[in-house]
Symmetry: C2
Subunit: 669 residues, 2 copies
């Protein structure tokens, strides 16, 4: 009889699990249908993620107030233990032994709350689910769909924004929040401990930007690609930086017990932890990417797209697990794995596998992202330990505003000193404006909600995410026009049909046929080809160095494209070079280089001008410009020419649609 | 300090989780690479699932004997409790409260074994993982890729094999095993209780056939489609029957305590449970399929393939959860959902979504299946509670042989009485031979391994799966030629490239252009069209009834194809008919009917004969036959003609490849 009762209980628990998952699935289904309706009717003020949150909120309210609290039949028995808690527990129930596993600590005040309604408990997921299941596909997809050409062209600036920017933002927000906490203590609004390290952790958590809404609108409106690359690259890398930063802040433990004051040794240890985790994760991601590239290159797996896709999926997933197993950060490793896979492995895949892998990760990303956002909506009402403190929340909003301002404007100023191809004021304002917080900030905040300070941080983060996604997401279109960032005009019917494709960056299938008459227009050098030359020389020296190494050695080793290794490697490693170079390289050397340079599909529809006067001021026709720049190119050295050609590959479509790009940025400098 | 220690422990546990998952991923990666090698070198004696098991075995041996047993630092504390076990437990550790959740009962003898190596424990999954995560995509894919035309043509026989056959097999195996158990008790080999219901449960578990290996070889060799349909249909439905049967046997609890004797009331209750669960699951699956079809029909979601694919995925998954939440069987519901989705929703999807959904579920199915099989290999060494009893094992092998023989031959005999288009001896032998046991039997057996009898059943099931997959899987090709089941000869290079595509049945994208000169050849009626007519009339009356209802009402309501409802529904529901009929129907009525009839791609390459004499005996050329049968068709009534046309749609490709099908079956009758 006891057995049957236990069985019944387990069955009931399983049934409730199913119902709670079903709730989320119905939520997502509803979101999808509404998204369709919005896209169908061209509603742009609310993004799908914002929508998912609203539906989540509604369901949260229903679960919270609509279902009567049941007096949980799994009421618990307390038994005292002398030592620290064990991870498993054997319990002797009238001669039978049952195994229990540790779930977590419960704060004493909440013990009576255990008797709340079951459904509310069931819809609360283990926070690690976000890190181990939902974030990896989102981050991998970001890496895999990175628009490489523009990313690498702006590599210096993106790295500066992501590393320096996030660090600056983290410290400024952390210090400001420490001030707020001090103020709260003065006013008597603080009922428990809130250390300086907690404030710094909050800074790290909230520095992870996620402009998914803004970028979706950029894609839809075909806004400027360089701005897109800056925003996207910054937000992707800054997620990685924020995770690692928060881990190192958690690792910052001063030697003296209970002193949360500054300790130089601990500080440097934290910096070491940061560098170690970051570089380790980076290496893991790159290595598995490279291994996948080698496997797909040297086997004829491309005859079996199913096997190839499965292998690709497994290898990409193994990066995550490998990094986690080695104590690094899986999410960061997955990001770099995605970038490596897109850069090398993608070239080795069969045409079918290319679309399969893209579509697979697109679907996974879509589902995971909408799930997280609807969970956020739900969490506002179903999470048990919310602490909303008005002073802290207002302080946090001011702090994130100041923190973002303090990293965008000064960094842009310093970057512009080095860049010829300046980041204009309107771009800086747009970047400032696009500091949305999303899935990553939420996942970081929910990871640890054990203490008072962490609970307050979590509640505040949730509100910040809601506010930024709804307000900023809705304000993107007006902001773009207000800042005079002109967007491409295009055929509305095409918009609908290709929309989802645009979200995937690496898609050589859809390249328009190359037209060679207007290279270089995109570089913003207009009639002055020499200036364009300088632009590239100075702003992308990291890229230039990397590019030649990548083009001459890595690409030929890892893919079927690039120049044969026999020509690039010194003569004494001839045998090795012959082994590593695939026979296709010799045949398809020219042909394959096309695939090498990835295109951004919405380049073509893009026009950017700083008022109409700019266009007339330059006054030259598109074809004239093209001729000039082509002449300019012929005078360059041959190695530069190869780079130019590769860079230019993607630009032809600009002219093929008959629009001209004139960057007004230098007029401001 | 305590907190840090707990944290460290949790971290270590997470690290080990990652390592164990990584082990499986590397196993799968290795399997994929070896599969590629095998396919590349045309090795057919070992299927990928057999391979996955071998690799699993190797890793199992390493984990078992290669890693030194650690004396688990999570050694457990026992504390006595007076009552039955609770599902959660609060433990007070020096003032702090920790929550523990019940994991399961541990048999007293195993308590000392807790100190085994951690890795071994980590690679042991919760058995419900198989039912809730791994089986659903496999079963859904089976339903979604069902070759509908041949399935429905043989519907009567398939239902008979699946329902009657599985029941017969279950009871025969159960009774035989009860005899074996009695014998064991006599010899003194039985050390614990083994009831009659346990034997019946074993019968149900082991009656779930999974001829995935055989079918893969059929696909590769392009063996007979009707035999394929019989085998595939039987095994798919029989999985469903076996699950529900095992649930009803578990539900069979005689009123008197501890009496495992026969009880009429309990028996009829079990039959009621069987019918209730089966029809409930069927209804759930069909309903969500229909809802998806309606949603995809009446929204313009097909403009956004990503949204459409995501919706399709979520709706299909929700079937599973809905059924589980209502107390039905999710896996069975998912099967019927897959069939409904393939039959209706598939027609409403955009071309991109069709390939996306197929590819998505193909990848999921592939990964899940290989994971289960490699886990099986692993489980032979890592599972802690194996009980291998030689008598029981030998008895089980004999019982499954007799059980399969007792359902295939008598049922085929009775079916042949009703069928004109007989199931030949060679087909019967092949079906007898193809009684492999696979993922479903394993998942059913591992679900409950708490008692002595269940542990013995699990160990035996594992051995049966190994034996049948390796021996029968390897023997399929010789068996086919020995039984004179001729297979299609085809271009080897084509084989490689299209292989994976063939596994997906519903693929109108790849239809060859229709050629109208030889309908009806496949029906095996050769020069005698009237006989062909009779064949269909008599053997498929269920199908015929169903077909007209489906064609006239369901298809027009749920998809864009079929005749307009305004013509098929009575006049008084004219308004409703106009609302439900999509405008495309009127325009594309003729054109869309093509999509309606699904093709089996390997039809075309298939030839079947019972010795060469059959071909010469018929002696007519393909085109002559075609002409005759076409003439025969013109004399038929118009309603039959529509059915004929729809049925014939798929056949044209037979002639387009220039082969002729002659069924020799009637020569034996």
């Amino acid at each position: 009889m006891e057995e049957i009762a236990t069985e019944k209980e387990a069955e009931e628990s399983h049934r409730q699990d199913s119902v709670s998952l079903l709730t989320f699935i119905l939520l997502l289904t509803l979101t999808i249908l509404t998204i369709w309706l919005f896209k169908h009717r061209r509603v742009r003020f609310l993004h799908e993620t914002g929508l998912a949150m609203i539906y989540g909120l509604i369901v949260g309210v229903i679960l919270r107030y609509g279902i009567p609290a049941t007096s949980g039949h799994d009421k618990s028995l307390s038994c005292s233990q002398e030592d620290r808690p064990f991870s498993t527990l054997l319990v002797n129930v009238s001669g039978k032994f049952f195994e229990y596993t540790l779930k977590g600590e419960i704060s004493p005040g909440k013990i009576n709350n255990v008797e709340q309604n079951d459904m509310l408990r069931k819809v609360t997921f283990d926070p690690e689910v976000f890190f181990n299941i939902l974030l990896p596909p989102i981050i991998f997809h970001a890496g895999y769909s990175l628009k490489k050409r523009h990313f690498f062209r702006n590599l210096g600036s993106i790295l500066a924004y992501a590393f320096l920017g996030t660090a600056v933002s983290c410290f400024i927000i952390g210090n400001l929040m420490y001030g707020v906490v001090k103020l709260m203590k003065l006013v008597g609004q603080l009922s428990d401990k809130f250390y300086y390290t907690d404030c710094l952790l909050f800074g790290a958590i909230i520095s992870a930007t996620d402009p998914v809404t803004v970028l979706a609108i950029f894609n839809e409106l075909h806004a400027d690609v360089d701005l897109y690359a800056l925003l996207f690259g910054e937000s992707v890398l800054n997620d990685a930086v924020a995770i690692v930063l928060s881990s190192s802040i958690v690792a910052y433990q001063p030697t003296g017990l209970n002193t949360h004051a500054f300790d130089a040794a601990a500080f440097f240890k934290s910096v070491g932890v940061f560098l170690g985790i970051f570089s380790g994760s980076f290496a893991m991601g790159a290595v598995t990417g490279v291994v996948t590239a080698l496997v797909t290159k040297f086997t004829k797996l491309h005859c079996f797209p199913l096997l190839e896709t499965a292998l690709f999926f497994l290898m990409s997933w193994s990066t995550f697990l490998l990094a986690e197993a080695c104590g690094f950060t899986g999410v960061v490793a997955v990001l770099f794995c995605g970038i490596t896979q897109a850069h090398y492995t993608y070239n080795n895949l069969s045409v079918e596998s290319r679309s399969r892998t893209k579509q697979l990760f697109e679907v996974l990303h879509f589902l995971a992202e909408n799930f997280i956002f609807s969970y956020m909506g739900l969490a506002l009402f179903t999470f048990q330990k919310h602490i909303f403190s008005p002073i802290f929340i207002i302080g946090a909003f001011i702090a994130i505003f100041l923190g973002r301002a303090a990293h965008i404007y000064p960094l842009s100023f310093f970057l512009n000193l080095g860049r010829r191809h300046k980041i204009g004021w309107n771009f800086q304002h747009m970047m400032m404006f696009s500091g949305l917080r999303g899935a990553m900030a939420f996942a970081l905040a929910i990871r640890d909600t054990a203490t008072y300070s962490h609970q307050m941080m979590f509640s505040t983060t949730l509100l910040i995410v809601f506010f930024t996604v709804w307000i900023i997401g809705g304000g993107t279109t007006p902001m773009l026009s207000w800042l005079n960032i002109r967007v491409g005009v295009q055929d509305p019917s095409e918009d609908d049909l290709n929309e989802t494709r645009w979200r995937v960056g690496v898609d050589p299938d859809q390249d328009p046929p190359p037209s060679n008459d207007s290279f270089q227009v995109l570089q913003g050098d207009g009639p002055d080809a020499a200036r364009g030359n300088r632009t590239k020389q100075e702003s992308a020296w990291i890229f230039r160095l990397w590019y030649s190494f990548d083009h001459n050695y890595l690409k030929p080793i890892l893919t079927h494209s690039g120049p044969p290794l026999t020509t690039t490697l010194p003569a004494w490693c001839g045998l090795l070079a012959r082994c590593l170079t695939s026979p296709q390289v010799y045949e398809n050397q020219e042909q394959l280089r096309d695939e090498d340079s990835d295109f951004i599909l919405n380049d073509g529809d893009l026009t950017l001008t700083y008022g109409d006067s700019t266009i007339t001021a330059n006054g030259s026709s598109g074809s004239h410009t093209a001729t000039t720049s082509l002449e300019g190119r012929r005078t360059k050295s041959s190695s530069e020419e190869a780079l130019e050609r590769d860079l230019g590959m993607g630009d032809h479509e600009v002219s093929s649609r008959g629009t001209r790009l004139v960057f007004p940025l230098e007029d401001n400098a």
